[in-house]
């Protein structure tokens, strides 16, 4: 009867350890997957910079280039966003003002900036957006603009360090202005040669002009200015530290956004599940060991007289020990087998329960993030829109993505691998050995002469 109790308690402790082990494995795997999928880039933009409409004070090339010297930074991609008013260029925007006004009104009322439009008689020409970049050829268009990845449809890209008066233009703009590779247009009173045409799959992005960073800085009288930079970090594990270093270096001049940092906060519930399961795991293993030790002590003590009698009858210490070790091993093995099966059975529901309980504590932040930034998907994140795809997280893009991550956060697959089995086996073995040695120590010390004493 007592033995049954010991086995049951042991099984519960082992089941708990196993399920915690599985939960921990599953959650760490998930955390690693999520972290790995979020890229290794950090976006830097001037404080308060608001892409399409500008604003804030631009950063300088000197500031940004300094970031290259930070440890673990492999590259810094810079861009300068400028607007060409109709008076500054021969280019005509493909988007009629009225149409754009309606678009703004319906999709992102607050960010359009042209809310006075709405009557088609109002003559307002949409400026052309020019992005000076030192990383052409990498995909330029981020989720911020609702577009896909930039692809050259004809021609070629300019070199990163080019200072020529050349441009790669979006194909919508090219069609509207009947431009092709080799054509020229004027901007800032300068003749610009089209060297390539790109497509990014959205009318808005395909109305943009890409030019060498140095050229735009020169022509737009924005010498050494940068409106956005993307810092590429060598290793996913260094993103957080580089993020801190960049923030420290640039101080209040810039908004530093690493997807990692945001993801890290999204992952906080998972991390806390990991911590909880680690502690519970340790606790239940120790608990199991203590239970077995105490029961062995209790059993040996209770059978002290029996041990004395066996010794008086001529049993060797070894034969008595063997019997007790066999008993404690039987307990442990039974408990381990029952606990292992039960642990695997309950690991999946326990993991889900833990994950949903922890993420349940921060649902508003997640939801709010998605709602708040998802409202104006076309424009709010424009400033950092033209960044490589690996770091294509503008605010809204990030929001949408995180929405996606969050949905999959609870989709954690639990599985018991060989390592789990090995753990259970070794843990049971160690616990049994501990229990046995405690029993052994007590048994050896029992003096057979004690049995002659009446209690």
């Amino acid at each position: 009867m007592r033995s049954v109790g010991v086995v049951v308690i042991l099984a519960v402790a082992i089941a708990l350890s196993i399920s915690m082990l599985i939960a921990r494995d599953a959650v760490s795997t998930k955390i690693n997957t999520v972290r790995a999928s979020t890229g290794t880039t950090i976006t830097v933009s001037p404080k308060g910079f608001f892409g399409f409409q500008g604003g804030g004070t631009a950063l300088t090339t000197t500031q940004i280039n300094g970031l290259l010297s930070l440890p673990n930074v492999t590259a810094v991609q810079e861009s300068l966003s400028e607007q060409l008013k109709s008076t500054q260029t021969s280019l005509i925007s493909p988007t009629p003002a009225g149409q754009l006004g309606q678009q703004f009104g319906s999709s992102a009322g607050s960010s359009g900036g042209s809310s006075t439009s709405g009557s088609s008689s109002f003559t307002f020409t949409i400026p052309i957006r020019v992005i000076g970049t030192n990383s052409p050829g990498t995909a330029v268009v981020g989720g911020a603009n609702g577009g896909g990845t930039e692809k050259l449809t004809s021609g070629k890209a300019f070199s990163p360090t080019s200072t020529s008066d050349v441009a790669v233009i979006g194909n919508t703009l090219a069609t509207k202005n009947k431009l092709k590779v080799g054509s020229t247009f004027t901007a800032w009173n300068t003749k610009i040669t089209v060297v390539g045409v790109f497509s990014a799959g959205s009318t808005f992005t395909d109305s943009n002009v890409l030019m060498p960073l140095a050229t735009v800085q020169k022509l737009a009288s924005a010498s050494k200015q940068v409106t956005s930079a993307t810092v590429v970090v060598n290793n996913i594990n260094n993103v957080a530290s580089v993020d801190r270093a960049v923030t420290k270096r640039l101080g209040s001049a810039a908004d530093v956004t690493s997807t990692q940092a945001t993801v890290q906060s999204e992952l906080a519930p998972l991390n806390s599940v990991k911590t909880i399961s680690t502690y519970t795991l340790i606790g239940s293993v120790i608990g199991a060991a203590i239970i077995l030790l105490l029961s062995m002590l209790m059993i040996v003590r209770e059978r002290r007289r029996e041990v004395g009698v066996l010794k008086a009858l001529g049993a060797t210490n070894r034969s008595i020990l063997t019997q007790f070790i066999a008993e404690s091993t039987t307990f442990t093995v039974l408990g381990a087998v029952v606990g292992f099966v039960a642990g695997i059975a309950i690991s999946s529901p326990i993991t889900s329960a833990l994950v949903s309980a922890s993420s349940g504590s921060t649902p508003s932040s997640v939801g709010g993030f998605v709602r708040g930034s998802g409202g104006g998907p076309s424009f709010t994140g424009g400033g950092s829109g033209f960044t490589p795809p690996s770091g294509s997280f503008s605010r809204s893009g990030g929001g949408l993505r995180f929405g996606g991550i969050n949905n999959t956060l609870t989709q954690i697959h639990t599985s018991a691998g060989w390592s789990t089995l090995a753990f259970a086996f070794i843990a049971a073995l160690i616990i049994a050995a501990l229990g046995s040695s405690v029993a052994a120590a007590t048994i050896v010390r029992i003096r057979p002469a004690e049995v002659l004493r009446s209690e």
Binding site: V309, K311, A312, G314, A449, L452, R453
Partner: protein, 224 residues
């Protein structure tokens, strides 16, 4: 033949030294039943534990059939306990989760009796002590005190030991059962030519023995 010479055992306790056994010298023949009487704390159990090698004397010698027990190594002492000595306790001390027969067989196992003979030997012993054949497969908890003590006697004599040490075997039994148990001990002693030492408080029981020894503060003397 048991020969004890100048045996001494002192316990060093916090309250001072207790000379539980002092210069004890006596001998007993095969088949002889010797009663040891004495007040509580006079050293009776201590003397038995020295004779049964449950404890080691400080000084003195125990010789059984020409073998000096002091010369035995650890394996020799274990062998001595399992083959040369049988214990009968006041509390019976049967193994609770073994049946009567298994308890007897356990002693045979420790004495390394041939495996195939143990069952039959155990049944013979239980029959000799008068346990109903139907009760051989009962556990101790389902036997009366007298029946348990019969099983204990069967267990003590099973491996044909030279020496039986009985520490108040009748202490937990009523008078008539106690007398039957002592009669049984004497019968078995005669039959197996074993020396039986019976510790008792009971003068009547002591008178059933061949000889009586009295122990007082660890000092043993013969009662005429």
């Amino acid at each position: 033949m048991l020969k004890v010479e100048n045996l001494n055992k002192t316990f060093h306790t916090g309250a001072g030294d207790v000379h539980a056994v002092q210069n004890v010298t006596f001998s007993a023949a095969d088949g002889e039943v010797v009663a040891i009487i004495g007040a509580s704390g006079s050293g009776k159990s201590t003397l038995l534990s020295l004779l049964g090698l449950l404890d080691a004397p400080d000084r003195g010698s125990i010789d059984i059939n020409g073998v000096q027990l002091a010369n035995l190594d650890s394996a020799g002492r274990t062998k001595y306990r399992s083959t040369q000595v049988g214990f009968v306790f006041q509390q019976f001390n049967l193994i609770p989760n073994l049946t009567a027969k298994e308890n007897v067989m356990l002693a045979l196992e420790f004495a390394r009796w041939p495996k195939e003979d143990r069952g039959q030997r155990a049944e013979e012993m239980l029959a000799m002590v008068g346990l109903d054949a139907g009760k051989a497969d009962r556990r101790p908890a389902k036997l009366s005190g007298g029946e348990q003590q019969r099983v204990a006697i069967a267990r003590a004599f099973a491996a044909e030991p030279q020496l039986i040490l009985a520490d108040e075997p009748t202490g937990s039994l009523d008078k008539s059962t106690g007398q039957k148990i002592v009669a049984l001990l004497r019968e078995a002693a005669t039959k197996q030519k074993a020396t039986v030492l019976v510790v008792t408080h009971d003068e009547k029981i002591a008178q059933q023995a061949d000889r009586r020894l009295e122990i007082e503060d660890g000092v043993l003397k013969e009662i005429a």
